[in-house]
């Protein structure tokens, strides 16, 4: 389940990169930038729970309360 997430994230990153390039080429710089921002937010939203998970596990494993 976790490996899937990596590919999903990589896919999203690549697609966003291409969209950014295409829009930039068309001269829609502001559009391109906002797409990028949106992409980062989406990716962050997916990554942050994972990090939270990790920290939670670390805390429980090493008894840091």
């Amino acid at each position: 389940m976790d490996t899937e997430l990596i590919f999903q994230l990589a896919g999203i990153s690549i697609v966003i990169t291409v969209i950014y390039t295409v829009l930039k080429q068309a001269g829609r710089d502001e559009f391109a930038f906002s797409t990028l921002l949106l992409g980062i937010v989406v990716v962050l939203a997916m990554v942050i729970p994972k990090i939270a998970d990790l920290f939670e596990t670390v805390r429980s494993v090493f008894r840091i309360y």
């Binding site: 999903q8 697609v15 291409v18 295409v22 080429q25 068309a26 829609r28």
Partner: protein, 172 residues
Amino acid sequence: MLKLIGACLILTACANFGFTWAGIYEKRPRQIKGLEGALQLLETEILYGATPLPDAMEEVALRCDSEIAGLFRETARELRKMDGSTGGEAWQRALDEFFPVTALNKQDVHILRRLGSSLGISDREDQAKHLKLTKSQLAAAASQAEMNAKKSATVYRYLGVLSGLLLVLVLY
């Protein structure tokens, strides 16, 4: 499996949207060019044939680009009703009806509307002048539209497919 089908549906829908959008951008210069040609025909009808407006409109509708023939056919129909509306009014009404089914934007329609107010109210030379003016305005709009289309059509095509892909990836 169900997920896969859904993903395919989303992808095709988004791609389709992109292609349609691009299609509109590509249609506009073509339709403006068609309009230019049609107005040329109308000018010929008026200047050399002195054909009455309903007949001239019908003639133009028969001979011009099929995509914009509707505008002229509709005007001729409105005029033939003889319900006390002038050529200009018939033209405006036809435009209102015809505009939503075209790729023309507000600016183009504005040019055409301005033509309507002078349609059929003066002698041949004057009519020809008005038509020439409209044609030159349309020509400017066409070249601009063409440039726009070149840039935008590909972008929208890409964007459609890619946004579909993105949506699938985010939701998967």
